[in-house]
């Protein structure tokens, strides 16, 4: 298909040639494939078709709900990770922020009698504050963000275990009912939040100054600084966004499973699944390019695989194997495709 892109002027002069319609189709196909999300979308649909042929209940409403609930919170985390990765940084502490945020909510409501909504906002503000500290240490004190957030990961995990004594607690009473339903427990709640957040962040990344500067500081840090972009501010901002979304996803998960548990919902699992989703979705770890929608589809693929294997009765541990292969294959494909894209062929 790449042959038709490097258009040959001789054939271009006769648009009514018999090959005209296929050429339009090919053009459309090319335009589609040029979208970074295309390859992962094809995979998502392919996996869906495969599981539907293998087990007829895959596409039932109940099961789609399961997949949506597995996709939503982690895709929200992945969206924040995408912004960070595009700006050339990473945060591996988001998972623990996700585990910590529901506890913050619990402390605020049950110990300090703060009303539900302000308590939720407080938990998110503290999550943002953790992101700020990550950003400050990485940008101002110049510690590589991988190391910063590795330290923060451990530190927060310690705080979490010490303050919770590693015991699960019940959802605070004032949030039961409407709030809990809207913030995670409702069957489609986390997916709806996920779609809203993905939509907003997609626009932020592709259509606003913030997004443009995020790409610029990730793609050419020196050049962006020389152009007067305040890289520190942009990156710290993205650390804060990622961490806030981590906290929010953790709250959604806690409401959904109807318990605040230090070992469920947060932790390494959500961090690495979110990074995997971002990478499978076409975001480069090197910075400068990435897509929020791709991360959503990437997360959807991972959720489909887990769910599908469950339905087929395949050993749950297989999913790790498959996830690993998916990451490696998509990274290799990414590398290859972006080189093709760069040279102007599909």
């Amino acid at each position: 298909m790449s042959d038709t892109v490097t258009a040959d002027p001789a054939t271009g002069t006769e648009p009514r040639s018999p090959g005209a319609v296929p050429r339009i189709l090919r053009g459309a196909l090319d335009a589609f494939l040029r979208q970074r999300e295309a390859s992962v979308l094809i995979v998502a649909v392919g996996v869906m078709i495969y599981f539907q042929t293998q087990t007829s209940i895959f596409l039932t409403e109940g099961n789609l709900q399961n997949i949506a609930q597995a996709t939503g919170p982690t895709a929200i985390v992945a969206a924040g990770i995408v912004l960070l990765l595009v700006s050339g940084e990473i945060d591996i502490s988001v998972g623990v922020v996700a585990a910590l945020a529901p506890y913050l909510l619990h402390f605020a409501i049950d110990f300090y009698s703060i009303p539900a909504i302000p308590a939720i906002i407080l938990a998110l503000v503290i999550s943002a504050g953790i992101g700020f500290v990550n950003g400050f240490i990485s940008m101002v004190l110049r510690v590589p963000s991988f190391v910063t957030t590795l330290g923060m990961f451990s530190l927060l995990f310690g705080v979490l275990l010490l303050t919770s004594r590693a015991y699960p607690v019940a959802i605070p009473a004032p949030t039961k009912g409407t709030i809990q339903q809207w913030l995670g427990a409702g069957p489609w709640a986390s997916m709806i939040w996920c779609l809203i957040i993905i939509g907003v962040l997609h626009i932020v990344l592709t259509r606003t100054r913030w997004g443009l500067h995020t790409v610029a500081v990730g793609g050419n840090p020196l050049g962006a600084t020389e152009a007067g972009i305040r890289a520190t501010r942009v990156k710290i901002g993205n650390f804060m966004i990622a961490s806030t979304l981590g906290g929010f996803a953790g709250i959604l998960e806690a409401f959904r499973i109807n318990s605040i548990d230090p070992n469920i919902g947060g932790g390494t699992r959500i961090t690495f699944t979110a990074i995997a989703a971002a990478v499978i979705g076409g975001t480069a770890l090197a910075g400068g390019s990435g897509t929020v929608i791709g991360a959503l589809i990437g997360m959807f693929v991972l959720a489909e695989l887990t769910n599908g294997f469950n339905l087929l009765g395949v050993n749950a541990n297989t999913i790790f194997l498959v996830q690993g292969i998916a990451i490696l294959v998509s990274m290799i494909a990414n590398q290859y495709l972006s080189r093709l894209r760069r040279t102007g062929r599909t």
Binding site: I203, R207, T208, R209, L212, H213, V215, A216, G218, G219, N220, L222, G223, A224, T225, E226, A227, G228, I229, G288, S289, R342, T343, G344
Partner: protein
């Protein structure tokens, strides 16, 4: 344009010094630039050319010395601040972002916004118009700059600076790593700017023959000082090369002497 005492000075640099730790990059630099003039700044590697440019564009602060723009002393606080006064730089390492389109690069950090979104349509139109005005031919401004040649990227970087109402343009090795044809593209661009007369330019260059082609005057920077200042008409490539080579030879002799430990 010819050297003319009545043409006002847009930039004057006096007694600039800058150290990085134990390394003295600039000792005592004095330099001036007249309106519409193209000044070539030459010197061997490590003579302090890039440091000087980074001071004039607000990236570094000098340890001492003063900078005057239009006769007024200024303290440049940042690249942004220098740019607001009309001083802009095109770096050899190219400040363009490969992952962004031509027009986004043209408007980098000066984006047209229809809050909260970027006004991409307006930026595309303006970028296209401006590049055409400057005689830079880019078929499609929405293409990522990674796909363009080195010369085209440099031309876009220059066009970007000129577009932002720059009055003092600093070009750091504008012809580095560029073929003859692409180099000619940039030289033509500089020639056009000179004809317009509203932009004054300092070019840092290694290739003296090409410098002489577009410059009105040449300054030589050696060991952190300007040691030579002549109109282009009174110098030649050969003379400039000899000056630098002579400096290299004496420099090497000095280094050899210094490197020898004191007699024990």
């Amino acid at each position: 344009m010819t050297e003319n005492a009545t043409t006002p000075e847009v930039l004057r640099v006096e007694h600039i010094a800058k150290k990085f730790g134990a390394l003295t990059a600039l000792r005592d630099v004095n330099l001036h630039l007249r309106k519409g003039e193209v000044l070539g700044l030459i010197g061997d590697n490590g003579a302090g050319k890039s440091t000087l440019i980074k001071i004039i564009c607000g990236f570094h602060r000098p340890d001492s010395g003063s900078i005057y723009v239009d006769g007024q002393e200024v303290v440049l606080r940042s690249v942004d601040h220098a740019r607001s006064i009309g001083i802009d730089t095109v770096y050899q390492d190219l400040a363009l972002v490969n992952e962004l389109s031509v027009y986004h690069n043209m408007f980098l950090n000066r984006e047209k916004v229809r809050w909260p979104l970027l006004n991409n349509r307006l930026m595309r139109r303006m970028a296209k118009q401006h590049l055409e005005d400057m005689g830079v031919h880019i078929a499609d401004v929405t293409v990522e700059v990674a796909k363009l040649s080195g010369g085209q990227r440099q031309a876009i970087a220059v066009a970007r600076s000129v577009y932002s109402d720059v009055r003092i343009l600093l070009l750091d090795e504008p012809l580095a790593a560029m073929g003859a044809k692409e180099g000619a593209l940039i030289l033509d661009l500089i020639g056009d700017l000179k004809t317009r007369g509203d932009v004054s330019i300092i070019i840092i260059a290694h290739n003296y023959a090409q410098v002489l082609e577009v410059c009105d005057r040449v300054n030589l920077l050696q060991h952190g000082e300007i040691t030579y200042d002549k109109p282009t008409s009174q110098t030649s490539t050969q003379e400039l090369t000899e000056l630098v080579v002579a400096e290299y030879r004496t420099g090497r002799a000095n280094r050899n002497n210094n490197a020898r430990p004191p007699a024990s």
